[in-house]
């Protein structure tokens, strides 16, 4: 399919979109916590993959390659969103207004709320491990992190996730 797209058959890319869209959407949603942000990140990732298709090498799975692009897009979005929130908070402090952090994570359910409370690296590790069902080697090639670091992130992320969910249930 990649060869067909590279030969000029743009519509062949639709087959790649069909095959990978669901998994990409799931990952982006769990990483970003909002449907709208997830859709944009997935679109960006596919368009970037399309533009960079000539650099894709067969020795890597297409799914892993495009997931790496998506994870990078999500990281960029998370950093940008954090910066925007910090700027807004600073501005509001300067103007002596009361500040509640903007709720950029659509709190659609308690799981996405709990995931949003994890540090970015732990959230990424938990999502790749459990939403994408990847092994640590695949996770390492996607994130660029070492296997032992990823195992630690998954362990800590899961502990934290469970604690947040239990606290949320005890409070409700």
């Amino acid at each position: 399919m990649v060869a067909r797209v590279l030969a000029g058959d743009v519509e062949a890319f639709a087959l790649l979109v069909d095959r990978h869209h669901e998994r990409m959407a799931r990952s982006a949603y769990h990483l970003l916590g909002s449907e709208a942000d997830a859709e944009e990140a997935v679109q960006d990732a596919f368009v970037r993959a399309f533009r960079a298709l000539a650099t894709y090498q067969d020795r890597e799975q297409f799914g892993a390659w495009i997931l790496r692009i998506l994870v990078n897009r999500c990281r960029t979005r998370i950093v940008r969103e954090k910066r925007r929130e910090e700027t807004a908070a600073e501005w509001l402090r300067e103007t002596s207004a009361s500040f509640e952090p903007p709720d950029h994570f659509a709190m659609q359910d308690e799981l996405s709320h709990a995931l949003a409370l994890l540090p970015t690296e732990q959230r990424e590790a938990v999502v790749l491990r459990y939403a994408n069902e990847l092994d640590y080697e695949e996770m390492s090639s996607i994130t660029g992190a070492g296997i032992s670091a990823l195992k630690m992130r998954v362990k800590r992320g899961c502990e934290r996730l469970r604690a947040i969910l239990e606290a949320s249930r005890a409070g409700s």
């Binding site: 743009v10 890319f13 639709a14 979109v17 069909d18 869209h21 669901e22 959407a25 799931r26 982006a28 949603y29 769990h30 449907e35 709208a36 997830a38 859709e39 997935v42 679109q43 596919f46 368009v47 399309f50 533009r51 799981l111 938990v126 999502v127 459990y130 939403a131 069902e133 998954v154 362990k155 899961c158 502990e159 996730l161 469970r162 969910l165």
Partner: protein, 123 residues
């Protein structure tokens, strides 16, 4: 998937694995953007705002440049040969003659300056 690490209970893992439908028509919108990207990359491959030089055109341009440097053109003033330096000097002399003298210093409107600074900051 088996979880030998046993970090998360199965109901939570199942929710993480569950399909997420981000919105209706999301796939179609991806392809729409891909088609746009394909169109724009095709346009970018073609030269814009210029005509591809032909071999004849390139030869003509090269011969013209050689002629100017050698001073073979523009021998209009009484048969006198004009070199490239003469051409440049004549150009600047004509430009200086055509220039409109300004009798006052340029005025700066502080309000416009601030507005311009605000605009550029937002970019």
């Amino acid at each position: 998937m088996q979880d030998p690490e046993n970090y998360l209970p199965e109901p939570i893992r199942a929710r993480l694995r569950a399909p997420v439908q981000i919105s209706a028509g999301a796939r179609a919108r991806v392809m729409q953007r891909v088609r746009e990207a394909a169109r724009s990359s095709r346009v970018a491959q073609e030269p814009r705002g210029m005509v591809r030089p032909t071999i004849l055109g390139a030869l003509l341009a090269a011969s013209f440049v050689v002629a100017i440097i050698a001073g073979d053109t523009g021998s209009g003033n009484g048969g006198e040969h004009r070199t490239l330096a003469d051409t440049i000097a004549a150009h600047f002399a004509a430009a200086a003659a055509a220039a409109v003298p300004v009798d006052s210093a340029p005025s700066i409107d502080p309000k416009r300056m601030i507005a311009a600074a605000d605009q550029t900051r937002q970019r």
